[in-house]
Symmetry: C2
Subunit: 237 residues, 2 copies
Amino acid sequence: MNAESIYYPFVSVDCVVFGFDGERLKVLLIERNIKESDELYNDKKLPGSIILKDEDLDDAAIRILNELTGLKNIYLSQFHSFGSPERTKNPRDILWLEKTMKLKIERIVTVGYVALIKINRKIQVLSDNTETNWYDLKEVKKTRLAFDHEEIIQKGLEHIRYKLDREPGLFFELLPRKFTISQLRTLHDTMHQVRSDIRNFHKKVAQMPYVVALDEVEKNVPHRAARLYKFDRKKLW
Amino acid sequence: MNAESIYYPFVSVDCVVFGFDGERLKVLLIERNIKESDELYNDKKLPGSIILKDEDLDDAAIRILNELTGLKNIYLSQFHSFGSPERTKNPRDILWLEKTMKLKIERIVTVGYVALIKINRKIQVLSDNTETNWYDLKEVKKTRLAFDHEEIIQKGLEHIRYKLDREPGLFFELLPRKFTISQLRTLHDTMHQVRSDIRNFHKKVAQMPYVVALDEVEKNVPHRAARLYKFDRKKLW
DNA sequence: CAGACATATTGTATGAAATACATTTAGATT
DNA sequence: AATCTAAATGTATTTCATACAATATGTCTG
């Protein structure tokens, strides 16, 4: 190995931010508009950024999310790095990078993180005027995405499914502070791609000491109101 | 984000190569000798390399292993990237990098891969005269390691434990082509940090269609010889 | 206010899988 | 022939996952 043969790519961090609206799993995407000669081309991208000097990967992910939402203490988990030389070969992406970075990019190795946030907590505070929106995960396949972000989202989803298996406390990062068993079940079933039996699900929840019933029911529903529960992290292990 | 504020670290790939000698889990480490003024300092490092121009991360890992062992078709799985600015701050590591790379290194983001190989297949063909050896995983904690390689090994171990849960076929990457139930059990128990019941283990193996008995027993043992088995990948799913 | 409607809540029976546990067998050694 | 070492094997118990439907509680409508 000599000095000439080694190679410096850029290193970036991209975040797959998941949310849950009570019905469906959502992912946070940023609008991207590219002027191509006369045409305006629109697609979406993951929130991400080149890492800064002296910035750890985890810190970069924390920074990206904070810049995006204003929130701190978001659940984050690194899942995979993507470094194919092909991933930055799309002319549209090259054009966008040149305009945004003012720099000719040869290659970007990106580190993928998954983030979980309560969907109602998202605060729109992007410094530039780009728009950020939640998209149904199922729609994503039909949406035009930058770079290999579709692949990144897919891998991120697999990762968070795996993490949810091992850390059941993570479900509650996605649910509102007070939630119904039914919401928890919909989330669980969506994540695991199953249709669980409602009675068996109640039984299972009853065995989770960290899901505690409140003396409260949901409001403004046109039928019998469901009891509300909260997550008690202290009782998790 | 402007051109001045962005930052190019090096990107490398490090491989945590696991082997199993029938008794214990082993990891492949490369001797590293550093001349410090008068003293010769010795420690170990993971096999790894800066990625080449136009080389995908997976391809870099494949190349590293091929250069190290001459083998192809080795099981490989990416598990985590490490990018702390602190990881290349040890003066000893800086010295070694300058001597080896002939270049002042500021920072290296490394992508960790786990590899599994049959321990008897390792072929020593390193171009330089560095020595490569297997080390007991339990000894590793007592061994001086370069950079943050101890942390990388630890994370790699957790990763491969997880992978073994989901892909039982991976056990057979570590075992000889013909193996006994006892070897499989020792490996299984080592990986899962349990002591399984021998009768229940036999039962479990009997339910694995992909573990097929041979008309052969082990040789040169001072007691009743155990039956040999082989792995039949075609019967895996 | 009675009936219709929507979702919430609850228990039992069955089968599958994991666990606990000890004796006999086969070959090598003396 | 006796001893040693590890291999091979079966049953009973418990735990966990699954299948399955009726009743309760509140809202809404005419």
